[in-house]
């Protein structure tokens, strides 16, 4: 860990929202709400489902409940956590877009926060004019922008169109121009949102390269991301925010492993009370689970895992039952379907009473992403039943192949063999 002076000190930082009291409608809404309150009815405009029960106390929702950490000069801090854990709130507070309801943030030096590239671009202004405007919005002064103008234009790679109104740019050009400006900020503290999620591979590479430059020049970076691969390769320290609090703070490998571990135990196991599992009067599910090869470890693209299905045979006498499963991605597209028949024709007849079947899924098959599983059962050639989603699981990247940090395209991600053969005789 860096031993430089503390440049960011966050003490007991909290942000709460009053539920339902956020007026964002018309006066008529407000009147309707007041009328409902008078009659003791629930607020008709109260936000639905925003509050996890633990964090909503009374009518107050604590998006962030007392977060403290310190950051020393030269550190690259990754902030990770699930959606809704409070990461974005923390980011907004650090960027001064909104103010905390308790606690303090103290920062030393010039702060630049990049929540978006090209903020404030005006479509009718030329690229050059927008560089000036965007630079000023990000906190550069006129002389600074003028001094770096040529460099910025060269970096953006759109010299030929720099005096064209931005509205005629492609979206890629706009991003490049916006990033070129951002890359020439020289803050002591840089706060970056998941800018990596947008843009193409080339842009990502530039962006990460620039972040490495900034950190190697001894400046401090705070990086909020879902991309564990990027976090692991860039950050010197990671803070995991969960339910508005710091769940872990330490070396990247440890914290990321703990975070992914908490994910793995999420919804990968299910059990039903007797007689209530999905199925028919002849056969029902009793339980099901996704089991990583190493118990408790997160699923990655490399790791093999099993899907175990527990059933109870209530009324099948002829032993004819073929259990299967379908793995679907989050667009409900079936990645693959498999049944016990894959193993061969001499399948043993199903036993009476409770039994388990297990399907092993090899490593280097799944791409990163979220998946769910439905269970099928066939008798003869006929579908006996098919369940709704019974299991869901997430496959993490775990490692990087090649220069790309993001999710590789493709439904599956097999590790294939490549050969390279020279065709000209050696000189």
């Amino acid at each position: 860990m860096s031993q430089g002076p503390v440049v960011i000190s966050v003490e007991d930082l909290g942000k709460s929202y009053r539920l339902g009291a956020i007026g964002s409608g018309t006066i008529a809404d407000e009147l309707r709400r007041g009328w409902a309150r008078l009659r003791g009815r629930p607020d008709p405009d109260a936000p639905v489902g925003t509050a996890s029960p633990g964090r909503a106390q009374g009518r107050t929702f604590h998006a962030l409940g007392g977060v403290s950490f310190q950051l020393r000069e030269g550190e690259v801090l990754g902030i990770i956590g699930r959606n809704g854990a409070g990461k974005s709130t923390l980011l907004k507070l650090l960027s001064r877009i909104t103010t905390p309801t308790r606690g303090h943030i103290r920062m030393k030096g010039r702060v630049a926060s990049l929540l978006e590239v090209g903020t404030g671009f005006h479509p009718d202004l030329t690229g050059r004019e927008n560089i000036h405007l965007n630079g000023a919005i990000l906190g550069m002064d006129r002389r600074e922008i003028a001094a770096k103008l040529d460099e910025i234009i060269a970096f953006s790679g759109i010299e030929h169109h720099i005096d064209t109104p931005v509205k005629r740019y492609s979206s890629g050009m706009k991003v490049r121009l916006g990033f070129a400006v951002a890359a020439h900020l020289e803050p002591e503290i840089l706060i970056v949102d998941e800018v990596l999620a947008v843009g193409d591979a080339e842009f990502q590479r530039k962006c990460l390269g620039k972040m490495k430059d900034v950190s190697s020049s001894g400046r401090t970076i705070l990086f909020v991301s879902h991309n564990m691969t990027a976090v692991l390769s860039l950050c010197t320290r990671v803070v995991w925010i969960d339910a508005g609090r710091v769940a872990a703070d330490g070396p990247p490998e440890e914290v990321v492993a703990a975070y992914l571990g908490s994910y793995a135990q999420g919804g990968d196991e299910v059990a039903w009370p007797p007689g209530e599992g999905p199925g028919t009067d002849l056969v029902r599910l009793t339980h099901a689970a996704v089991l990583p090869q190493d118990p408790g470890a997160p699923l990655t693209m490399r790791s093999p895992f099993s899907i175990r299905i527990g059933l109870e045979n209530i009324g099948i006498k002829d032993g004819d039952l073929n259990i299967g499963l379908r793995v679907m991605n989050d667009h409900d597209l079936v990645l693959f379907a498999s049944t016990q028949a894959d193993a061969g024709t001499d399948r043993p007849p199903v036993p009476h009473g409770r039994f388990e079947v297990e399907c092993r899924i090899p490593g280097d098959l799944m791409n990163e992403g979220s998946y769910h599983v439905v269970i099928t059962a066939f008798r003869g050639a006929r579908l006996h039943f098919i369940t709704e989603r019974v299991l869901s699981f997430t496959v993490h990247a775990g490692e990087r192949r090649g220069a790309w940090f993001g999710r590789q395209a493709g439904l599956v991600r097999p590790r294939l063999h490549w050969n390279s053969v020279p065709m000209d005789p050696a000189p």
Binding site: I97, T99, A136
Partner: protein, 293 residues
């Protein structure tokens, strides 16, 4: 306190240059910080001026055409058809000299009132002192006003050369810059107050344009106060409008005549209150509005 690259040595609080906490006084305006962002103010002003007439054929000519065409219409409708011609002055000059300050005030109110809702996409992404926005709007409105004032000056010169007007301004002409500041500040205060309120009540954005338009009829843009002496109730309504004395004073300073000092004092008081309440409300809303929009 805020981020300065060079204040580390002198800054209190263990050398921290930015301290973000929950409580801030509602009246706390960090003038030093605003000053550091002056380049942004100027660039935004320039953007406003340059982009409004982008892709128009007549371009900046619209700035003078708007009051000129309105003046012509008023002279025709009120001056000729309705027989409400103002006494002692050519009709077009009278209407134009009422419309130029009125347009300044009304664009101040309507444009600054859109600060928070219109600038939300920028303000939820990056921090800068939020007052930068209404201040740059004020400057670009001021620029438009100056162009229209120049058009008015050309008109006056035309009438004088043609012998239609004996122009004899008194020393009160020197008070004009102060009067312009007063109008700008009145519009700014009203505008940012409405801007803060629109984050909560969107209805107001409809009400503003309409309301300001109505308010013009309760000002001496069309009817001089001298014509209202027979209608004391109406006169009182006119006098409640803080722009009434401003427009009367504007004409008095331009063409000579008695400056309504009593009315101006009232306008100045209203301006001070509006600016104070406006800045306080704006400051209060600006802190949390990113959570609402």
């Amino acid at each position: 306190m805020s981020a300065t690259p060079d204040a580390t040595s002198a800054a209190p609080d263990g050398g921290f240059t930015t301290v973000i906490g929950p409580r801030r006084s509602l009246l706390a305006i960090d003038l030093a910080e605003l000053w550091r962002y002056r380049d942004l103010v100027l660039l935004l002003t320039r953007r406003d001026i340059v982009t409004v007439y982008a892709q128009t054929v007549l371009g900046p000519l619209w700035v003078v055409l708007q009051p000129l065409i309105t003046t012509f219409t008023f002279a025709l409708v009120f001056g000729k058809a309705a027989g409400l011609a103002p006494p002692g002055m050519p009709g077009p000059l009278f209407y134009m000299s009422g419309l130029v300050p009125w347009f300044f005030f009304s664009s101040q109110v309507t444009k600054t009132s859109r600060t928070l809702t219109g600038g939300a996409h920028v303000m939820t992404k990056v921090y800068f002192p939020r007052l930068v926005m209404p201040i740059s709007t004020t400057l670009s409105n001021g620029f438009t006003f100056l162009v229209q004032l120049a058009a008015l000056a050309v008109m006056v010169a035309g009438y004088v050369l043609a012998g239609g007007l004996a122009w004899s301004p008194g020393p009160q002409l020197l008070g004009l810059p102060l009067l312009v500041l007063l109008m700008g500040a009145l519009g700014l205060g009203t505008g940012i107050l409405i801007s803060a309120a629109t984050t909560k009540y969107r209805d107001l954005s409809f009400l503003v344009g309409f309301g300001v338009q109505l308010l013009m009829y309760a000002s001496p843009v069309i009817l001089p106060l001298s014509r209202l002496q027979k209608f004391p109730t109406l006169l009182r309504v006119f006098e409640l409008n803080p722009m009434t004395a401003v427009i009367e004073a504007f004409r008095a300073m331009l063409f000579g005549g008695a400056v309504p000092w009593g009315g101006l004092t009232y306008s100045a008081a209203v301006t001070a209150v509006m600016l104070l309440v406006g800045v306080m409300t704006f400051n209060k809303v600006e802190r949390s509005f990113a959570d609402i929009v």
